[in-house]
């Protein structure tokens, strides 16, 4: 009997040895994998129990963590949520974090390199790590003006920036949503809310349209054609260029015409000033062939096409397609075919022309302020690229006065303010819908702001009535006219 009892004891030892082996495997060998598992939300829970820094606009929080009696010690609260949703993004237990909440996470949680010393002190003194606040370059009044200019039910974006510093003063898009709805603790509630948000056409909490929508830029692209033309030396402000009502695209039977019933038909040969003011298409067939796609692509890249850029939100690179045949090049030159640009890209085009050919890196972050109010980061204005020469930029500025004075953007006119701008209307296939653009800056002789308005997927009249008049309202707000 005793032998059997000893065997039972050995069996029990085997049981416990197996348990020890299994525990050792989990807690030592598999622990890194378990901690990194996608289903593991312990890190997120840890973060949710920490005071997270605020996102500020002009000193006022638009996102902040307030003490909570709920499941976590803090609850993220967004103020004027719809106004800023595409900038702040969300901080959600269910969906993670997005936009500034994501890219500035290290600063907001106090984990960034510049907060290393504070972390060290806290570790030794037992204090909690408090996140830093992130103050934006956004001007709240301009942001509200821009947001309100976009009617509900329309997909549109307005960007206002300072071409001398690259500071983004307003970046508003519609449709928008209430970020608080995704910050609720309940997983089922936030999922329901997310699904409701996604029902809205053109709205995704994961995409900021200003930097994430790739839209055919239409005639605003002609600014870049003009830069390439002037740089080539083959054209100047005095050059007289053929302006037929319609041309057959080279190597093709397709035709490309000027806008029907447009003023372009008034001059069969025209100077660039007339062509830009009235946004005639046919001259750019000739210009694009004369300049060549390599020179044109070079210009687009200097202005930012195809470049990686973080503001610090990641900007989707705009596209000027490769290996174009002659017909495709002609269509590309009027911002159609497969040319696609983000609203911010076309704002950068205006910024470059406004700032004597130098594009300052667009930036949303004014400063990062620690919980003890010490400024730990304050980005200095940074040059993004030298897009063109001052000489060319000055000439293009002069040309861009035309549309507002006497051309396609007359409804943006403000007495006593010289506005340089270029409109664009990109047809979307045969849908009858267009993407309507305007991008420009003012005052022309000493630019303070670059403004870009895009209305996506609307009929021509709606777009036309929203772009130039919106620019006017923005400039009135900026200059208090």
């Amino acid at each position: 009997m005793n032998q059997a009892i000893r065997n039972v004891w050995i069996a029990i030892l085997v049981f416990f040895t197996a348990i020890m082996g299994s525990l050792t495997y989990i807690q030592f060998f598999a622990a890194p994998d378990l901690n990194a598992n996608a289903l593991n939300n312990r890190q997120l829970y840890r973060d949710f129990d920490l005071p997270r820094g605020a996102i500020l606009v002009d000193g006022e929080p638009i996102a902040e963590s307030v003490a909570s009696d709920g499941d976590f010690k803090f609850q993220r609260v967004y103020h004027n949520a719809e106004l800023y949703s595409h900038l702040t993004g969300f901080y959600s237990l269910t969906f993670g974090s997005k936009h500034l909440e994501s890219v500035m996470n290290a600063e907001l949680t106090g984990q960034s390199d510049s907060q290393f010393y504070d972390r060290l002190v806290n570790m030794l003194s037992g204090g909690t790590n408090e996140g830093a606040s992130v103050e934006l370059t956004i001007d709240p009044k301009l942001q509200r003006t821009a947001y309100n200019l976009l009617p509900d039910g329309v997909q549109g974006t307005i960007i206002v920036s300072n071409p001398k510093t690259g500071d983004i003063l307003a970046m508003a898009s519609k449709p928008s949503y209430d970020t608080n709805k995704l910050a609720v603790v309940s997983g089922s509630q936030s999922t329901t809310n997310m699904n409701k948000i996604l029902e809205t056409t053109g709205l995704s909490p994961n995409i900021n349209p200003a930097i994430g929508h790739l839209i055919p830029p239409g005639s605003t692209f002609k600014i870049l054609d003009t830069v390439a033309a002037l740089e080539s030396g083959k054209y100047d402000l005095d050059s007289v260029i053929d302006n037929p009502n319609s041309v057959t695209l080279p190597g093709s039977t397709a035709k490309l015409g000027n806008f029907e019933e447009g003023i372009c038909s008034g001059q069969s040969k025209a100077k660039l000033s007339f062509i830009i003011a009235q946004s005639c298409n046919t001259p750019f067939v000739e210009i694009s062939q004369a300049v060549g796609q390599d020179a044109l692509r070079d210009v687009t890249e200097r202005f930012g096409f195809g470049q990686q850029l973080q503001v610090p939100l990641r900007v989707t690179p705009s596209v000027f397609p490769a290996d174009l045949n002659a017909a495709q090049l002609a269509q590309s030159s009027i911002g159609q075919f497969d040319v696609k640009a983000t609203p911010l890209q076309m704002n950068m085009v205006a910024m470059g022309i406004a700032n004597d050919g130098v594009i300052m890196k667009p930036n949303l972050i004014k400063q990062v302020v620690a919980s003890d109010l010490k400024v730990i980061e304050a980005p200095k204005p940074e040059q993004f690229s030298t897009a063109t020469s001052k000489e060319v930029a000055d000439k293009v500025t002069e040309l861009m006065l035309g549309p507002v004075q006497s051309g396609t953007a007359m409804s943006a006119r403000i007495p006593g303010l010289e506005i340089a701008a270029k409109t664009g209307t990109a047809q979307i296939g045969n849908t009858g819908k267009v993407n309507s653009w305007i991008t420009g800056f003012a005052p022309a002789d000493d630019p303070q702001v670059a403004v870009t308005v895009v209305i996506e997927k609307v009929d021509y009249n709606t777009g036309h009535n929203l772009t130039s008049p919106s620019m006017k309202k923005i400039l009135e707000a900026v200059f208090n006219k």
Partner: protein, 477 residues
């Protein structure tokens, strides 16, 4: 008289010293838990620790009076486990705002009183053998109890509870003990018959068909528990208990082979036809499949437990610094995961070692006692503790499918505490019987042990010398 040098000593002072050590550890743990409380340090740690110390000392004093030769290590180990459990339940309370620790302390008190009553009433474990068939009837009654309409309660799909007003109780926990007593009594009386007969095939000595009867009954009872009460854990426990006890009684490995075959048949049938078993197996195999993870009754619980253990790593987060509240049932079924998270691999290893120590001392008592009934009882009860630990911890660590058993002494749950403390009382009594001077059972003066003729049993009720096949037949009177 060379026997004098080997004469047993009570060793109660060693027990007292070890108890002090256990209580120091437990008090420290409880204090740390209080420190981490959100609403400031509370005094609960003090009341908890003092109450537990009083209970432990009460048992210690009772042992000095009625079972002075009992094993000196069992009680300190049990107090340590019970106290660590209390501290962890207290800690989970802090996170969830519950008050399970106070209930657990109350139940500890009830359990300790029950253990003391057992020590006082039984005195000598051999008297239990006289009531072998009464314990069979009691076991049947306890097992059927939860199925009685109006009395039984179903919690989380398992119908193993009996409700009385605000209290609920698992009679199956007590049935574990009564069954062990019945098996021990039955097998010690009938082992000769079972041993003698049977045909031999190769190395296996097969039992006669009619001797298979009890095993089939045990198997049917286990399947019944699984089908009608939907409790996989208890089902495994009952059958494992019987299998081991018949193996110990006969020393024949064939019983284990036959038993495992029965388990295999039962397991395959259950996995095929019982949805709750199928679900558990699926959650075990495909734990990290997001679909299984998110499903109601899926692998959320086990995966959260694994995340907790992983988060703890080697050294743990420290008491109060983990997130055991993210794990469902962190203070009962999943308490091992909660402990592993906050105490780390090193801490949980210490806890497992306590169990190894406890079970080993129980087995030691089984080896040391002179009667077959005592051997079977102590081995069976020790094995249930070991098996229960294996089933729970194996489930939590994903070694085997997770079943809803409690971790002995650690987990929140009154029924389990009560039954395990009674088991400990019985183990202490068996060890006392094993180590006391042989004449004590007859003579009133243990001090004369020095003159007692060694360890040879002169006690009539002591059924047999170890492994002696010719057991006297007076057992089942």
């Amino acid at each position: 008289m060379s026997d004098v040098t080997t004469a047993p000593v009570p060793r109660r002072n060693l027990e007292l010293g070890l108890l002090a050590l256990a209580l120091a550890v437990v008090t420290g743990a409880n204090y740390l838990v209080s420190l981490s409380n959100e609403s400031g340090v509370e005094q609960k740690w003090l009341t908890q620790s003092v109450a537990l110390a009083c209970m432990a000392l009460a048992v210690h004093v009772v042992l000095r009076i009625w079972a002075k030769y009992a094993d000196p290590i069992i009680l300190p180990v049990v107090v340590a486990l019970n106290g660590i459990g209390l501290a962890m339940i207290h800690r989970v309370d802090n996170a969830t705002g519950d008050n399970a620790a106070s209930r657990q302390l109350l139940w500890t008190g009830i359990a300790v009183v029950a253990a003391i009553i057992t020590l006082w009433a039984v005195r000598d474990h051999r008297i239990l053998r006289r009531a072998t068939y009464i314990f069979l009837a009691l076991s049947a009654f306890l097992l059927v109890l939860p199925l009685i309409p109006g009395l039984g309660r179903e919690i989380n799909g398992a119908r193993i509870w009996v409700g009385l007003g605000p209290f609920s109780f698992q009679p199956g926990e007590i049935a574990k003990i009564t069954l062990a007593i019945f098996f021990a009594g039955y097998l010690s009386s009938n082992r000769d018959l079972i041993l003698l007969a049977g045909r031999k095939i190769g190395p296996l000595q097969l039992p006669r068909y009619r001797d298979l009867g009890p095993m089939i009954v045990a198997w049917l009872v286990s399947i019944g528990v699984l089908v009608f009460q939907r409790d996989l854990g208890s089902s495994i426990l009952f059958f494992g208990l019987f299998m081991v006890m018949i193996y110990v009684a006969t020393g024949r490995i064939s019983w284990i082979v036959i038993g495992l075959a029965f388990v295999a048949v039962g397991g395959v049938l259950a996995a095929q036809f019982m949805s709750h078993v199928t679900r558990r197996i699926d959650a075990w195999l495909n734990a990290f499949d997001p679909e299984v993870y998110n499903r109601a009754g899926g692998s959320f619980q086990i995966v959260q437990g694994l995340f907790g253990l992983g988060n703890g790593g080697l050294f743990g987060t420290g008491l109060g610094n983990g997130r055991p509240d993210l794990i469902t049932y962190a203070n009962s079924d999943m308490i091992v995961a909660a402990l592993g998270e906050e105490l780390g691999l090193f801490g949980i290893t210490a806890v497992v070692m306590l169990y190894v120590l406890l079970v080993s001392r129980g087995i030691r008592a089984a080896l040391g006692t002179r009667d077959a009934f005592g051997k079977l009882l102590a081995a069976g009860l020790s094995f249930t503790i070991g098996l229960q630990c294996f089933v729970v911890m194996g489930g939590v660590t994903r070694l085997i499918p997770l079943t809803g058993l409690t971790t002995p002494f650690l987990a929140a749950g009154g029924s389990s505490l009560l039954s395990n403390w009674i088991i400990v009382a019985l183990l202490l009594l068996v060890s006392h019987g094993a180590r006391r001077p042989a004449a004590v059972g007859l003579l009133t003066e243990p001090e004369k042990a020095g003159t007692a003729p060694g360890r040879r049993p002169h006690v009539p009720a002591a059924a047999a010398a170890p492994a002696a096949p010719a057991a006297p037949k007076e057992g089942a009177r």
